[in-house]
């Protein structure tokens, strides 16, 4: 498996957070992203940070996995933070170089934005590191079930999602193999001018697509052969169920929401 991609990489450990129902973690992560936009004081950010850090500690996932999740977004974070720092409206001018002026309000806003980014990334990384991709798909299907009443094809969406998630590692492995095979024939990747780099990807992408299409056909045949029709009345192979711990975690999130609203 590829070791560069951390977002979406599940770490098979055993912890309180790993054992939670995927729906609890999904709801929690979504709620957290919602709550964080109400926070606008130091106290509320401190509380939210504490909450995330606690979750990270309980998950027993080494900290560097969370830090690696930031790397691909680092540029975006710094860019947004700098914009805030330089252009946020404010009165109390700290210093001024030419037309650039840094205000106290701008500095505080930039710090908040920075923390907000970090916390959202940490929270979603916590979700994907501690939850199997298929469990996430199952959880989403279960949470979206009410939408089936208004004719949203929930089962089909969930099926597409689980198949896609199921084949991400397979495709990545395949891409590695094809890349190796082409490199053995003297191909180079990620070197030279942008145009050359784009051209170098063709020998990788074409076999990958062809294999993926073949695989999709095989899968469709196998599913038809085993009598797959649609979601009507199907039972689940993997059952998910709420436990006492899920209740505690949901209560904790409700408490957090209340506290943040009160502090802001």
């Amino acid at each position: 498996m590829n070791n560069k991609l951390v977002i979406g990489q599940y770490l098979p450990l055993d912890s309180f957070i790993h054992r939670l129902d995927p729906r609890t973690k999904l709801l929690g992560a979504f709620a957290f992203v919602g709550i964080i936009f109400f926070a606008d004081s130091w106290q509320s950010y401190a509380l939210l940070s504490l909450f995330v850090l606690l979750g990270m500690m309980i998950s027993s996932v080494p900290i560097r996995y969370f830090l690696r999740g930031i790397r691909p977004l680092l540029f975006l974070i710094l860019f947004t933070t700098c914009l805030q720092l330089l252009f946020a409206p404010g009165q109390t001018i700290l210093f001024k170089i030419g037309f650039i002026k840094v205000t106290e309000e701008g500095l505080i806003q930039a710090a908040f934005i920075f923390i907000r980014f970090l916390l959202i990334i940490f929270m979603s990384t916590l979700l994907t590191l501690t939850t199997m991709p298929l469990a996430i798909a199952d959880g989403l299907e279960s949470l979206m079930r009410p939408l089936a009443k208004i004719k949203v094809p929930v089962h089909e969406i969930a099926l597409i999602l689980s198949i896609a998630l199921r084949f991400v590692p397979t495709l990545m492995e395949e891409a590695d193999k094809i890349k190796d095979a082409q490199m053995a024939r003297g191909a180079t990747f990620g070197e030279g001018k942008l145009k050359d780099q784009m051209k170098a990807i063709v020998p990788l992408l074409i076999p990958l697509f062809i294999n993926a299409i073949d695989r999709a056909e095989e899968l469709a045949t196998a599913m038809t052969a085993r009598g797959y029709k649609d979601g009507q009345g199907r039972t689940k192979y993997r059952e998910i169920s709420y436990g006492r711990n899920d209740l505690y975690v949901l209560l904790a999130f409700i408490g957090l929401t209340g506290a943040v609203l009160w502090l802001s």
Binding site: P12, E174, K177, D180, A184, R185, G186, P203, I206, P207
Partner: protein, 297 residues
């Protein structure tokens, strides 16, 4: 210049320092003689594919050095020698047909030579020269590789590696998934190339009959460690050990040892036969000796 391939204290670890850490090769010290036909055998997952990917620097050792003649491959990578090493060592991967991508067979075969600096024209000429070597007909050159049969696609992929004119040809289970006839033809083709082009061949295989037939050097790998290295005669002598680790024997050797177990006098075999021809010869010679002995009495 020292020739041949030498593994010196080589370790390989997949994804070190992570929960997925996997120590696959452990303290490998082994030599593959220059111009030999070396077979690497071992169970699935024993590390054969990982081992051979060190030969052109696609994998670099976590510790230790692999020498390919006087090219060192170390944890520092292969740097500037990379391109020359990739040209010197051609690797045919497992199921190589999955690497085809060009519109026509000839363009696909020409991909390697072009990467190593040949002009379009030279590379296409090379493709036309190589095609008969893998047993395909010239009209196929202009066809799309995706219209061919599985066996033909594999031959095109092999041609793509041969077109680089490597000195060392590495074959990772090249006959997996072929029918018996296709398997035999392909093995004969490699042996023909071996004799004609004076290559060093490194063959990863599960077919002990192929080892017996074609190889003159054998490396047995068990759980990431070298369990044995020597000639086929030396390896297959260890009948009990091979059965214990469940690697199996060549058909002829199995036949001979079964005969002996059933009471056939062991003295009748001057050498343990590895191929059917040798088996027939040994049995015939045994009867001749017996006849002469009986007449003397």
């Amino acid at each position: 210049m020292v020739m041949g391939i030498r593994f010196e204290k080589v370790d390989y670890i997949y994804q070190p320092h992570s929960p997925f850490e996997h120590h696959v090769l452990k303290d490998i010290n082994v030599t593959i003689p220059s111009k030999s036909y070396t077979a690497i055998v071992g169970h699935t997952g024993s590390g054969k594919s990982t081992l051979i990917q060190h030969l052109n620097g696609l994998k670099i050792p976590t510790h230790g050095t692999v020498w390919i003649d006087d090219f060192p491959v170390t944890a520092e990578g292969i740097g500037k020698i990379g391109k020359a090493l990739r040209k010197k060592v051609g690797i045919v991967f497992q199921f190589p047909e999955s690497q085809l991508f060009e519109e026509t067979v000839e363009k696909d075969i020409a991909f390697g030579p072009k990467n190593f600096g040949a002009s379009e024209e030279e590379a296409l000429k090379k493709a036309a020269e190589i095609l008969p070597l893998v047993g395909l007909e010239p009209p196929l050159l202009k066809r799309s590789p995706f219209d061919l049969s599985g066996g033909q696609m594999r031959r095109v992929a092999i041609a793509g590696v041969l077109a680089m004119e490597p000195e060392i040809l590495v074959l990772d289970e090249p006959t997996a998934g072929l029918d018996p006839q296709g398997r035999r033809e392909m093995m004969e083709m490699f042996y023909h190339l071996y004799q004609q082009k004076h290559l060093t061949i490194v063959l990863v295989t599960h077919q002990m009959d192929d080892v017996a037939h074609y190889a003159n050097h054998v490396i047995v790998i068990e759980k990431g460690q070298i369990a044995f290295a020597g000639t086929p005669q030396e390896v297959f002598k260890n009948v009990d050990w091979l059965e214990k680790i469940q690697l199996g024997l060549p058909t002829a050797t199995h036949f001979a040892t079964t005969l002996i177990k059933k009471g056939f006098p062991e003295e009748n075999f001057s050498l343990l036969p590895l191929t059917l021809e040798a088996l027939a010869d040994e049995i015939a010679a045994g009867y001749e000796r017996k006849k002469v002995g009986d007449a003397d009495e």
